[in-house]
Symmetry: C2
Subunit: 190 residues, 2 copies
Amino acid sequence: MRLVPSAVTIAHELAKKIVRPGDTVVDATAGNGNDTIYLAQLVGPSGLVFSFDIQAEAILATRDKLVLANLESRVKLIQDGHENLDKYLSKPIKLIIFNLGYLPGGDKCIITKPATTLAALKKSLSFLESEGLVLFTVYTGHPGGQEEWESIQAYIGQLPKEQYDVVLCTYLNRNVHHPFTIMIQKLNNG
Amino acid sequence: MRLVPSAVTIAHELAKKIVRPGDTVVDATAGNGNDTIYLAQLVGPSGLVFSFDIQAEAILATRDKLVLANLESRVKLIQDGHENLDKYLSKPIKLIIFNLGYLPGGDKCIITKPATTLAALKKSLSFLESEGLVLFTVYTGHPGGQEEWESIQAYIGQLPKEQYDVVLCTYLNRNVHHPFTIMIQKLNNG
């Protein structure tokens, strides 16, 4: 068994350890819908996924995949920026997942950006239930990617260690711009 | 469930995913015996742990723990440097674990060192079976620790990605010298 073939599999493995049937979770970047599908399977028929994307193209692609997988009843698709997630959420959330950068196959000029990503992260932490996770797959290879990561890093690096475990997992023998994973777990005293 | 309370738990979780009853594994740094005990439990009564330490004090402490846990029949304790592990091993190994630095509670002047750690790592990779793991818990807070890590990093950073997954997991909101985990998995074509 290959333990960590990709950054995305690290995030999915961590999600699987925490998410239980009936949970409410968030895909902050629906993109091509893969994370949303994965989360919809994890939460089961009694759970709920809020799935955000600013691009209509991403929302449509995700809806198509959900319909094909017969999972659309578990997902609320929201075409809005994830920095506005507080407008839609009302209760504690078990997990919030971000896949940064641009929509694969889409317009590479439309990217996640430091100010909105950071705003969404801060709001995510405030909605997170105890032991819940925020997961990022971070890309630094596109213009603006490195700056976005640096702003996230500065913020999460100062989160109190008594309240959050903040862990980076990255490959050491791949391209310097290979995507990597960030896990933030809210602790019981968080 | 707190997913990653410490660097050592990351290594133990990874070990648990790979080691099966009957496997042969290596604790390259017996130290106070905790990893050896953990591995002896994972390999079961039909498995075998080779446990190395250069210090008699560590070998004795580990033996005491094994006897208490009634696990001594599963472990070969070897008082020798881990750079000599090829003198004792003859068949493919599923996992080799290193806990770098000094013996907790022992003489802080006796530390693992770049030349011998690197020699042991290279030999470890040559004994590793396909899909097997080398795991390091790395400490950089003691004199020589940072230099040791830099020599390991230079070596593992150039391992071919087609043959090895080399992954670093570290905390971003703890002391800069907090221990961290390195996982090297040999791939099927490794």
